[in-house]
């Protein structure tokens, strides 16, 4: 471990950069249960949080790991928990609770091969649909996929900001490739970052009241003077359960709408590389991006006009942007470390003459640039 002097540029693992980004964004509480390949997030949080006046708690299991973080968040402290596939399954119920109770929290899932305990140390992107649909009921989700160590730092900050602004759980969907690799990372200090904090200026002493034309309530933190109720049941302005169908319908719609309405106010983010003249597009995200970048270099040298479309915010998906871009493409190849999950979304939105293709891998090894180039070549024969 390098000395504790926090130098601005450091060689860090993606998992370590996640913790540094979280602390820069204001995280002062972490609770969780260690699991490969996310364990370094717990380890570094245990080291760093006490240095900045925060608290780290190792809980007895994955469910308690998220539950304690939710409790800390309700008390006004920016909180995070991290896990991998098997633990992500266990956290789903409390993710739904955070959604309906409108408790800000960042949940990191460093994806590994599954199902079940699978291949603990091997990469995968098999949880992307679980991130979207894992908890039950109609709910919105914000899931963000970083593709490098620096991106992990920056996107962790953004995950906290979105969570605070919209009082919603945000899933930082990392994978073993990004979590375990080391790259140079600039630790941009808090004072140079745009930081959002939740609004705690409660309206009429009602925790779930919100202003005209607004979508997010302003709850006072627990312990700051107001007594109020929090429940996973649909509730009224005071936070008490209700069976009133009108209130339930309005509440569910508002929770859905608050993410939809603000999709273009900071939630959606995507990246394009060399798409201007491309007739072959590749959709990828997370660690897979790096193999695609390598493949584009090689394929361009061979004369193919290939470009990349990378959703950084995976959910909600940049549908409109991809539909517009696909109009110029004859082929659109989805590359992901699973059996075809984002592929389903892409197939659902891309109509017309663009042929949607797929490259996937589920054996615990990474997709290589050569495999992608071969696929590009074969499609042109």
């Amino acid at each position: 471990m390098p000395n504790n002097k926090q130098k601005r540029f450091q060689l860090l693992q993606g998992n370590e950069a996640c913790v540094e980004g979280a602390i820069a964004a204001g995280m002062r509480f972490y609770s969780g249960y260690p699991i490969t390949p996310s364990t370094e997030i717990a380890e570094r949080s245990a080291l760093r949080l006490p240095q900045v006046g925060g608290k780290f708690v190792q809980m007895e299991d994955e469910i308690a790991g998220i539950a304690a973080a939710l409790g800390a968040s309700v008390a006004g402290t920016k909180s995070m928990t991290a896990t991998s596939g098997p633990g992500f399954s266990l956290k789903q119920e409390n993710i739904g609770y955070a959604t309906i109770a409108e408790i800000p929290i960042v949940i990191v899932d460093v994806m590994r091969s599954g199902p079940s305990t699978g291949l603990p140390t091997s990469p995968s992107q098999g949880d992307v649909m679980q991130a979207k649909w894992g908890t039950h009921g109609d709910h919105p989700v914000i899931a963000i996929c970083p593709s490098s160590v620096q991106d992990t730092y920056n996107q962790t900050v953004r995950a906290f900001n979105l969570s605070e602004r919209f009082r919603t759980p945000v899933i930082l969907l990392m994978d073993e490739i990004v979590g375990h690799m080391r790259e140079g990372c600039e630790l941009i200090p808090t004072e140079e970052l745009e930081i959002h904090n939740r609004n705690t200026n409660m309206i009429n002493s009602m925790p779930y009241a919100f202003g005209e034309g607004q979508y997010v309530p302003h709850m006072t933190s627990f312990g700051d003077g107001h007594l109020y109720n929090i429940t996973g049941l649909f509730h009224d302005e005071a936070g008490f359960p209700t069976n009133d169908n009108e209130i339930a319908g309005e509440e569910n719609s508002r929770i859905m709408e608050k993410i939809k309405v603000y999709k273009y106010s900071g939630i959606l983010e995507y990246e394009e590389q060399q798409m201007e003249d491309a007739d072959i597009g590749i959709v990828c995200y997370g660690g897979t991006t790096r193999a695609v970048e390598g493949a584009i270099e090689k394929a361009r040298d061979m004369g193919y006009n290939v470009g990349m479309f990378r959703p950084i915010t995976l959910w909600p998906f940049p549908e409109h942007e991809l539909i517009e871009r696909a109009k110029q493409l004859k082929r659109l190849i989805v590359v992901e470390h699973n059996y075809g999950q984002v592929l389903l979304t892409v197939q659902g939105i891309i109509k017309g003459d663009t042929k949607v293709e797929f490259i996937g891998k589920v054996n615990g090894t990474t997709i290589t640039p050569d495999e992608i180039v071969r696929n590009i070549e074969e499609g042109e024969e």
Partner: protein
């Protein structure tokens, strides 16, 4: 400098991952772009272990080694596995106990070095084998300045072992110089 793709292989517990982290950090301190990664099984010790560092002047896209510019192996079993996938000009650095097929000497620079023996007999600590390897690899490819390599070594070792590990690092470089004489 050209892009370097280093692959270190051995047995879990020998410190091959740490070796690639130290090389990566040294190059990083010299202002290079680096990407370091590893693959290993769930065993705490003894499983086959592969660790990689890529170093370049420009942005690194794919972060895994495709064909290594240098292969380091500290065990026969890991050498036999990973020697199957090397480039025509891959530099091979192995412990002297490892059996290297004759045919490889024709095309490749093969540096068979007394890494483990030197750790045991000169440094008197078998854990120093990875730091000797780091010194050797850096000398073989001239990746990072000696000053940065020293700094990177010191950043990643237990307090109180600085002099021993610096000695191991310099010894590794000397082994390569001697082998090339």
């Amino acid at each position: 400098m050209a892009k370097e793709q280093l692959r270190f292989t051995g047995s879990g517990g020998q410190g091959v991952i740490l070796g690639t982290i130290i090389i990566a950090e040294a190059a990083f301190l010299d202002g290079k772009q680096v990407a370091q990664s590893q693959s290993y099984g769930p065993e705490a010790r003894g499983g086959m272990c592969k660790a990689e560092t890529i170093i370049d002047d420009k942005k690194i896209t794919y972060t895994k080694v495709e064909l290594p510019s240098l292969l380091l192996s500290l065990t026969q079993v890991s050498f036999d596995k990973y020697v199957k996938k090397i480039a025509p000009d891959t530099v091979i650095v192995v412990d002297e106990e490892i059996n290297v097929p004759e045919r490889l000497y024709a095309k490749h620079e093969v540096l068979k070095l007394p890494i483990i023996k030197s750790a045991n007999e000169v440094i008197k600590n078998k854990m120093a084998a990875n730091i000797i390897s780091v010194g050797a690899v850096n000398e073989a490819l001239q990746i990072a300045s000696v000053k940065s390599l020293e700094e990177a070594v010191v950043n990643h070792i237990p307090k109180g072992t600085e002099e021993m590990n610096k000695k191991a690092m310099h010894l590794g470089a000397q082994l390569v110089k001697d082998a090339r004489k």
